[in-house]
Amino acid sequence: MAKAYTPIEKTDVGKKASGPVAWMDDRLGLAASNKLMPLRKVFPEHWSFMLGEIALWSFVVLLLSGTFLTFWFQPTMGDVVYNGSYQPLRGLEMSQAYESTLRISFDIRGGLLMRQIHHWAAMLFVAAIVVHLLRIFFTGAYRKPREVNWLIGLGLFQFALIEGFAGYSLPDDLLSGTGLRFVDGLVRSIPIVGSYLEFFVFGGEFPGDVIIPRLYIAHVFLIPGLLLGLIAGHMVLLVYQKHTQWPGPGRTNDNVVGYPLLPQYAAKAGGFFLVVFGFTAMMGAIFQINPIWLYGPYNPSEVTAGSQPDWYMGFVEGAVRIMPNWEFTFLGLTWSLNVFIPAVLLLTSLFLMLGAWPFIENWLTGDKREHHLLQRPRDVPTRTAIGVAGVVMYAVFWIAGGNDIVATKFHLSLNAITWFSRIAWIVLPLIAFFVTRRICIGLQRADVERVLHGYETGIIERSPAGGYSERHAPLAAGAQFSLTSRDHRPAIEAPYQHDAYGVRDKHFRMSKLRFKLAKFYFYGSVDKPTAHDVEHAAEHFAEHDGHPVPLGEDFQGVSETGIPKAH
């Protein structure tokens, strides 16, 4: 049956652009793609949803500024004598990589700006990824059906670190060469195959003459290609699964409420790209970063005190610094655990643990449902506590990565800081775990209290007996709903070794482990009030008529300043 359809010329857009629109659609069938990716697709709003966007836009800034730099950068380690416009380095032997970086910085107009934009954007890129990852973790946004996107995100994080490090190494200045020297030591420490890997990576003995061209092609082609592919996958899944949202009145697990892509979301996101670009340009204009001309060309017999990697490698650096000097001979081979554990194993285990987490949580909660509503960190106390413990551990490593700076700035003993960190990386996360969990449980209880007994109005009443008390008023229905739209705390049942017929459960040990972990996971978590509890509490409110003055129907509370509060 022929369907009635409106000719393009009769639509509003068509009147003006019927020619091009029809031409395109006749060939590409673009209108049908509106079903896959509707122009009016809804995106929910929250400030924390912007973090991933910062990462995306700083990646675009990196592509643009990086392309500019490739027009002049010479990725070779060939020897030249510097004859350029920066006086202090004239007559010095250096690699072409370093010389061309000096040229970009001093002789190409806008070159220094682009270099600084590129470096600041790289710092921002990794920072935004890390904060975005923490947001996803603490709000449970990785839960079914988004586990795959969590893994893609981890891939992005990992490649971003490698990409950043490769870029840091390219200018072949003293600092980047020192970084490569560290990588050389790291590669050599890998048991059994270390020497082979070192010779294959550096094309022979360190430093060799191939590492910079090799890192260059990885930095401008291989890894950006992988990043682009993963970002595409990340976005496609985001569109397909739709964004998560915070629970609230009218916002449930079955819908998504927000503004359509065209025009509001597109305008805000597009505008935000320009803001991120502008921000990095401002940073590049005002704050100097990586002044390679001050470090000088790489020389394996020189180093500056206070050598630091870029911030995102600081935690690895710290772990390397506080590691005890374990090295031994076994099977005739040397095992340099003093380098291998903190440099190689730490990074690997970080990514393995992050990758496994959604599956571990899913296994011990046995939850098979789809989740589109975000969780407030307090509502999952143990997970939040684990996350905070992880952040604290990262922070200890990170600070230890600047132990020399801390020592000189605060006039402390370097050895004391190192010893403190050796103990603190275990003890402080443990303390953080228990403190965080307790705070979360306290906040959960306070929420239950607010749902059942209302909020504090700020009105102090005096009873006939002379006692003072603060009057409470019931929460608005919307607030009550928001606070109770999380999941019930599940009932965890202990497994039986034998069933009713005395048959032994083959998986008993596994079930017992799971039971124990689940008990640990839900420890102290307060269940949310049900509708029944709330009604019961409301009756209680109504019965309370000992108040001298009734609150009006439209009463919204009084704040400390006497201005009514909206609830």
Binding site: R181, F200, L274, A281, M282, V320, W326, V339, N403, G478
Partner: protein
């Protein structure tokens, strides 16, 4: 679940989306027009800044400074950044203050495909596999897997020439009788040049050697590689402070000792010298070596002591090496223990 449980577990009812709240610009045409003017003003200013960028590009000399930093960089960055930020925030303001702000609710659908789609896809997959006979013909299947797997070998072996095979420990450029020279000027060092407590960064003379055309014998990568193993520091202490190990009693000249500059941890050059304690601290990871006690590790992640170079004096009174290092330089590697044994045997 019993009926009572169901009632008792009922969650609080959803009151639905709250009523739409109008923005000031929705209800007051004056504010609406003002916002419109301001946003257009931001775009106009952005255009002016873009022009200012071009003016700065052609007028500001690259040597001009502003607050000690490049004036050109500052002007270009501020105009570009300002222009971008003004356009960006103007668009965001437009979206927030003037574009319609009615929220839309869209229903979610399960991520899984519908049962029909799933059945159809699985049936197609099944039919395809069935027709291919991949299950019925294990001979073909397994030989194909084997053949494709074997293709991995060329892919791996092609990488073989990424670098030479590791040759383990090789001697540094130090030889018996080679002068110890200043690392910048290349001038040889006399014991009298050093005062007690002083540290000098030094290198083997070979790095400054020139051929008949006046060109360096060791240049470029070869020089860097040689340097990364042969760089040394020469320190002078009071002779009575030194506890030389057996066999090392004659490795110094009047309290002057020579050590490798390359940290045994990950190879950073070390030169932070604490005169009073005779400790040498690596600036990278703070491994600390006691130079009065044979380069022993006293703190930090390094495991092996700092290798010492036996020093002597030649006929002209300059410091020379008595031999190459007798320990392995630079970061540890798997074959280190074996190479050290060989080295020990050679040195007796």
């Amino acid at each position: 679940m019993s009926q009572i449980d169901k009632i008792e577990n009922k969650t609080v009812a959803d009151p639905g989306l709250p009523a739409h709240q109008y923005r000031p610009t929705d209800v007051d045409p004056k504010l609406d027009r003002r916002a419109e003017r301001q946003i257009a003003g931001m775009f106009l200013l952005a255009a002016l800044l873009a022009v200012a960028f071009c003016v700065a590009y052609v007028t500001i000399d690259k040597d001009q400074t502003f607050l000690r930093f490049s004036a050109q960089n500052f002007a270009l960055g501020v105009t570009l950044g300002g222009s971008l930020m003004l356009i960006g925030s103007g668009i965001i303001r437009w979206a927030k203050q003037l574009m319609g702000d009615h929220e839309i609710a869209e229903l979610r659908h399960p991520s899984a495909s519908s049962d029909d789609d799933r059945t159809q896809a699985l049936a197609d997959l099944n039919a395809g596999l069935e027709e291919s006979g991949v299950a019925r013909r294990p001979l073909i299947r397994n030989s194909l897997i084997g053949a494709v797997g074997a293709l991995g070998l060329p892919a791996v072996i092609m990488l073989r020439d990424l670098g030479p095979l590791p040759y383990g420990h090789k001697n540094t450029v130090w030889r018996k009788g080679m002068r110890v020279v200043n690392d910048v000027s290349g001038t040889p060092i006399k014991p009298s040049d050093l005062e007690v407590g002083q540290l000098v960064n030094a290198e083997p003379e070979a790095l400054f050697e020139v051929d008949e055309k006046g060109e360096r014998v060791l240049a470029g990568t070869a020089a860097l590689q040689a340097k990364s193993k042969a760089a040394v520091i020469v320190v002078r202490m009071r002779p009575e402070a030194i506890h030389a190990a057996r066999g090392r009693e004659n490795w110094g000249i009047d309290g002057i000792l020579c050590y490798s500059k390359i940290c045994t941890h990950v190879g950073c050059p070390i030169s932070l010298w604490e005169q009073q304690t005779h400790h040498l601290l690596c600036p990278c990871h703070q491994s600390t070596f006691d130079l009065a006690n044979n380069g022993k590790v006293v703190f930090g992640p390094a495991h092996r002591p700092l290798p010492q170079l036996p020093l002597g004096v030649d006929a002209d009174g300059y410091l020379i090496a008595l031999s190459d290092f007798q320990e392995i330089i630079a970061p540890s590697y798997p074959e280190l223990a074996r190479d050290q044994k060989k080295l020990d045997k050679r040195n007796g």
